[in-house]
Symmetry: D3
Subunit: 62 residues, 6 copies
Amino acid sequence: MPVVRIDMWEGRTLEQKDDLIREVTEAVVKALKVSHQDVVVILSEVSKDHWGVGGQRSSRKK
Amino acid sequence: MPVVRIDMWEGRTLEQKDDLIREVTEAVVKALKVSHQDVVVILSEVSKDHWGVGGQRSSRKK
Amino acid sequence: MPVVRIDMWEGRTLEQKDDLIREVTEAVVKALKVSHQDVVVILSEVSKDHWGVGGQRSSRKK
Amino acid sequence: MPVVRIDMWEGRTLEQKDDLIREVTEAVVKALKVSHQDVVVILSEVSKDHWGVGGQRSSRKK
Amino acid sequence: MPVVRIDMWEGRTLEQKDDLIREVTEAVVKALKVSHQDVVVILSEVSKDHWGVGGQRSSRKK
Amino acid sequence: MPVVRIDMWEGRTLEQKDDLIREVTEAVVKALKVSHQDVVVILSEVSKDHWGVGGQRSSRKK
């Protein structure tokens, strides 16, 4: 019963999120030999203002 | 000083969230013999669009 | 389908952990009106060396 | 730059974990159109003693 | 490649968040001798309604 | 009352971890104007076998 959490920048379409949930679930099922119903995927959208790399928020990058 | 994080679908009332914080804190206090003030509970509401089970977002389920 | 994660200091007995899982699950069921089978609780034991409050690891406190 | 965290029961082989990291990365790349190097996957093995469903630790299930 | 996640009450200014990302990155670089580009900081704002201490949500405290 | 969680590769000395807790706490205090006692830092050591970048576990990198 794996629980997958994905932190990512906000701004994806609903279709992309659907793809992400479906593809990641398939990947977990394939690698761990668990059933689809046992895989939980939680998406967490993070503002670029709140995501820093190298000491600087990502919304600042040109 | 336990830290409890609860991911759940959005849509609960403030009263339900108050209940959740209070009840979970009591549960932790009772099981671990810590003081109430040492228990931190952080609620995280997740859209059903962002919560997938079985490869499909929960907002799709009828 | 709430997912509860509890970070706590290591050193609890298996019985205490069983209590914790049971009591917290009951608390979530009661507050959110979900079924028991929908509640996932994940315990995460943290060494006092790895838990800092006030800038100091907790294993240092007398 | 998505960060993926997977909580799962302990006991997988190194080969399974390699598969998991590779397959999940591919899934994220495909769904979000990011580059492979931007995907971070962190696996977290959880003892069945520490994973509760329905109020009961998973190590108790026969 | 440390990943730092900070849960905090909502309500900080963008300037405070910039300071936080920069200062925490510097702290990690200094303590762990990693390069700036290897440090990811993810800020997560939590409503005081969703943050409980002592069994009570923080928005209730006077 | 910020809660800071740091995922990092295992293998740091206790002294480095002490530095990390102290420095990160100072950084949060400085940026957010909170008191030292309100800052919780939780370190989480991750095996390089469990940390993947670019689809490959970090223990594989030469």
